[in-house]
């Protein structure tokens, strides 16, 4: 008998005859997570991702390339990996050279340029598909144009996020977008730069992935995102200075 048949046979012989009631996840979220306004969600998102050591800039559709150039300039970075064929990638390709920034593209399979990606790519620009306010989380669906390693290998990762695309919770994001009907090769939630506290619970950034995560948050006009007035519960209890971490498995 194959291992498969043997395992399934043992489990079937023991499976309970009474079927448990389907858990009602939707009503838990409905009763515990109030729906917030767009600006409250933007504020909450910003609060939590900043606690996780990300940098957030409010930008507009017009000025984001300038802001991006300034962010790179402040770090003396002269090279940026962008996704050709995406609207934001094309804008970067058009606008950044005049700021003295050279844009490279992910135009071939990683096997052909692994060393360059790992050793000579200081920064990258990608878009976020959406975000989650509750935890300060970016949602990325990498694809052929904007591959997976763009948000992992370069030490500085810059993300363009439309502030209208922020959900309250992870549950709301996956429900509204109908994820259960099919997911892409890789779906990512990113909530800050790479970090570890594996040495004596001391937090260190840039463990294996980006050392810095910078969010350019697109709003209709250049508005100041309100300070986190209404953010209670986890906010106060989180002490960013003592933040620990580690890998769950």
């Amino acid at each position: 008998m194959s291992a498969r048949d043997s395992i399934l046979g043992k489990l079937r012989a023991a499976a309970p005859s009474t079927v448990k009631v389907q858990p009602d996840v939707a009503s838990w979220y409905a009763s515990h997570r109030p729906v917030e306004s767009a600006s409250a969600k933007a504020a909450r998102f910003r609060h939590f991702i900043e606690l996780a050591h990300a940098e957030v800039h409010a930008v507009t559709a017009e000025n984001w390339p300038d802001k991006l150039a300034a962010v790179l300039d402040a770090r003396r970075i002269e090279r940026l990996l962008v996704a050709e064929g995406t609207p934001h990638g094309e804008t970067a390709l058009d606008e950044l050279p005049r700021h003295g920034i050279e844009c490279s593209t992910y135009d071939m399979a990683i096997e052909a340029w692994k060393t360059e990606m790992f050793t000579a790519t200081p920064a990258s620009l990608t878009a976020a598909r959406a975000a989650i306010a509750e935890t300060g989380t970016l949602i990325l669906w990498p694809d052929a144009k904007e591959p997976r390693l763009m948000s992992l290998v370069p030490p500085v990762h810059i993300v363009l996020l439309d502030a209208n695309q922020i959900y309250n919770t992870f549950f709301e994001a996956m429900s509204e977008e109908g994820w259960k009907t099919g997911l892409p090769t890789n779906t990512l939630l990113i909530s800050g730069p790479s970090k570890t506290a594996d040495i004596q619970q001391t937090l260190a950034y840039g463990a294996h992935g980006p050392k810095e995560l910078i969010v350019l948050m697109l709003t209709e006009q250049e508005t100041v995102i309100p300070a986190q007035a209404g953010i209670q519960n986890q906010a106060e209890s989180l002490d960013s200075a003592r933040q620990g971490k580690e890998d769950q498995q």
Partner: protein
Amino acid sequence: MSKQHTLHFKPAEGFRARSKAVVDNPFLRQSFRGAMDFLMAKRAAQFPDSEELESLRNLGEQIRQYNLARLPELLEQLEAKLTANGIRVHWAESPDEANAIILGICQQWNAKLMVKGKSMVSEEIELNHAAEAAGIAALESDMGEYIVQLAGEKPSHIIMPAIHKTKEEIARLFADKVPGVDYTDNVDALIQIGRQVLRQKFMEAEVGLSGVNFAVAETGTLCLVENEGNGRMCTTVPPVHIAITGIEKIVEKLEHIPPLYSLLTRSATGQNISTYFNMISHPRQTGEKDGPEEVHLVLLDNGRSQAYADEQLRKTLQCIRCGACMNHCPVYSRIGGHAYGTTYPGPIGKIVSPHMLGLDATAGLTTASSLCGACGEVCPVKIPIPELLIRLREESFSAPQPQPALRGQGAGHSALISSIWKGWSLVYRSPKLYRLLSWCMSRFNSLTPTRQGPWTSVRTPLQPAPRRLRDLLADKK
């Protein structure tokens, strides 16, 4: 790289000696105490609202029980969906079968190097040994796992593997074992050394291995939780990704994930979310420029079906491996993870290891508990750990049955101890016998031995009082 791994399971007989060695070492005690206090405070800060915590734990328990109740059909659904997505599914009943599957894939690819993301199931099957024997280097890439591998040790905590080491010890280890590295005890510098070494290895490796936190049947998706990004490296850079998981880590619906994920990170390390949540549903598809060409999933039983067969013990499989039970355990926080000798230490280790290794190899572990109940109280999916410990004690120490449901049942049984208890029960049920015995004990109390086994190793001997309570009361009348 050091190849002096001493990862092998250590038998339970050595438990007492290993525990004593830790308790006698003030530095180790300090490391564990400090780390556990830190993790307990961080978890508490994540759950300021006790009503919300309780309702979320109830939901978590309900989700895990619902999915376990349908485990066989969900495994088939997962297999069908993953296969349709292009991910190959393998089944293994034992660690040997799992190792053979993984190393077989490595050999097809002529792999010399396998980089590993943190996976407790790979520790459970002792994959690193098997890989070494097959001439394949298995390199841990989680910083904590990398440190314990360099030191030739085992993880001492399921979430924070190097929790027993000070930064000075790690600094000396790096200076000794990593070529071209000078001594530094600056934590940022140490992490950057690890980053440089391991980035090179991510580029070279032919195979990346990972665990799985949740497998979703309806979409055919493997979910991985991490902070460092090494898990993403292992599952994205090498041409082959092999994931290994226990058969219980499965949920039917995607919507079951958000509550469990939130309970996991908040209970484990007191984070409201981890840095990365990596959801893998396909190998690299046509036109995509990175990601592995092959993705494999190995589903491991290794005793889980034994726990599943018993309605009470099935609750063991609700576990989402957050480690909160060990962080809050008065025994774990004093003796640390290595003393147990098993892959999974602490309260969860005591209830899961007997199914993997047999009660004969783990009989003593179930007694290493004060039954204070803290583990059950903090468990995010409400596993009644103290109840299960008592049940496993009964299974260990009761008389062996001809066809036991649990491997090693009765292994701790002793005819002498059993007859002592029978005698005790007889005496306590008969007032006459009780009076006679207590009279003898008080009258001949000077005959009590002064050496009373482990009791007198740290305490003065017990001696019956010269006069019984009954006698004292009689005087008062």
